[in-house]
């Protein structure tokens, strides 16, 4: 696998896995308005997936399509960060995760707009507008729930404590990132950490939440070394139609 293919899978799989997780709220969100908003977010992410994985398939040149990559790969082929595959649990954790990811995506996609690879720059520019709205909405909701009732505050605190050790993986540079930087496609992910920290500090402050004092990071998702047990269950649901009826179309 070339570094560019690997890089594109990382972008596409992040969008795909979070998009699917978000879509799990469809029809069961705590309020009709939130249900529609979450479905919109999920659709934005699946749309971004089509662009990233479509380009990945083209770069791979093995005759696979974006759909093949999404529906016919198994757990060990996925390159998303672990934070995005853990279960939604409650609405609080879902929105906290969305915020932690959005706060990364906005500076990251902003940087990718300057990519030497025109397709990467174009996909980033299109996705950025959606990510900015997602960040607006998720940060507002995190603040509202953190600064809400005792119950909502406790849930948001639990969500942050649970997810924070997963967040560092987004910035964990490896050899592929170095190769990608050298080819001018993207900067190192670690370069957007300062901006992420700044957004995190501002929003947690307004939400009356304390950033956990730990430097431990779960890892293995974006390298494909080790996923959580949850991804297999998620893929079983997500891929069941293509697995049961190969090539089915509508």
């Amino acid at each position: 696998m070339t570094p560019l293919f690997e890089f594109l899978l990382r972008q596409g799989d992040n969008a795909l896995v979070l998009g699917h997780r978000t879509s799990e709220w469809c029809g069961v969100a705590p309020a009709l308005e939130e249900d529609i908003a979450l479905a919109n977010t999920a659709l934005d992410l699946i749309g971004q997936t089509q662009l990233w994985l479509g380009y990945a398939a083209e770069v791979e040149g093995a005759g696979r399509s974006a759909n093949d990559l999404a529906y016919l790969r198994d757990v060990y082929d996925f390159r998303n960060v672990l934070m995005l595959e853990v279960p939604n649990a409650d609405f609080g954790r879902t929105l906290m995760r969305q915020f932690l990811f959005d706060a990364f995506q906005v500076p990251w996609l902003t940087a990718l707009q300057g990519s030497d690879d025109q397709q990467v720059a174009d996909i980033a520019a299109k996705s950025l507008k959606e990510a900015q709205y997602h960040l607006d909405r998720s940060s507002e909701t995190v603040i509202m729930l953190g600064d809400g009732t005792d119950e909502s505050h406790a849930r948001m605190k639990a969500a942050l404590d649970y997810l924070f050790p997963y967040a560092g993986e987004m910035f964990a540079d490896d050899a592929i990132d170095t190769a990608i930087r050298e080819s001018g496609v993207a900067p190192l992910p670690s370069t957007v950490r300062t901006q992420w920290n700044e957004t995190l500090r501002r929003v947690m402050n307004e939400a009356y939440l304390t950033i956990p004092d730990t430097t431990f990071n779960h890892s293995g998702g974006r390298t494909g070394f080790r996923h959580t047990e949850y991804l297999g269950h998620m893929l079983a649901t997500m891929q069941t139609l293509q697995r049961s009826y190969p090539g089915a179309t509508w």
Binding site: A31, E33, Y133, E140
Partner: protein, 94 residues
């Protein structure tokens, strides 16, 4: 205190519309939240370029039972309608 979010009325100005039109209502915690919800609920198909929200309880409304006294008197006063004039094209929409 009620645990339900208050009700907001939503007004959207469309791509070519001259004024905001009432499109429906929704629940939200505050005005900012109501605008975001309105964006997600009412502009998914590119309907609007501007959103207004107002809390439903802040709207003063006329009572349907006063229909007679309020509107009947205007019914037989046809001379109030400016239907006997030709409006020049240059004036545009009125």
């Amino acid at each position: 205190m009620s645990r339900e979010w208050p009700l907001w009325e939503v007004f959207i100005r469309g791509q070519h519309g001259m004024s905001h039109r009432h499109v429906g209502s929704l629940h939200a915690a505050d005005a900012e939240h109501a605008i975001k919800n309105a964006r997600d609920v009412y502009t998914r198909r590119n309907e609007g370029v501007s959103i207004w929200v107002v809390e439903a309880q802040d709207i003063a409304a006329s009572s349907p039972s006063e229909k007679g006294p309020l509107y009947e008197p205007a019914k037989d006063k046809v001379y109030r309608h400016p239907t006997f004039y030709d409006i020049p094209d240059e004036v545009g929409k009125m």
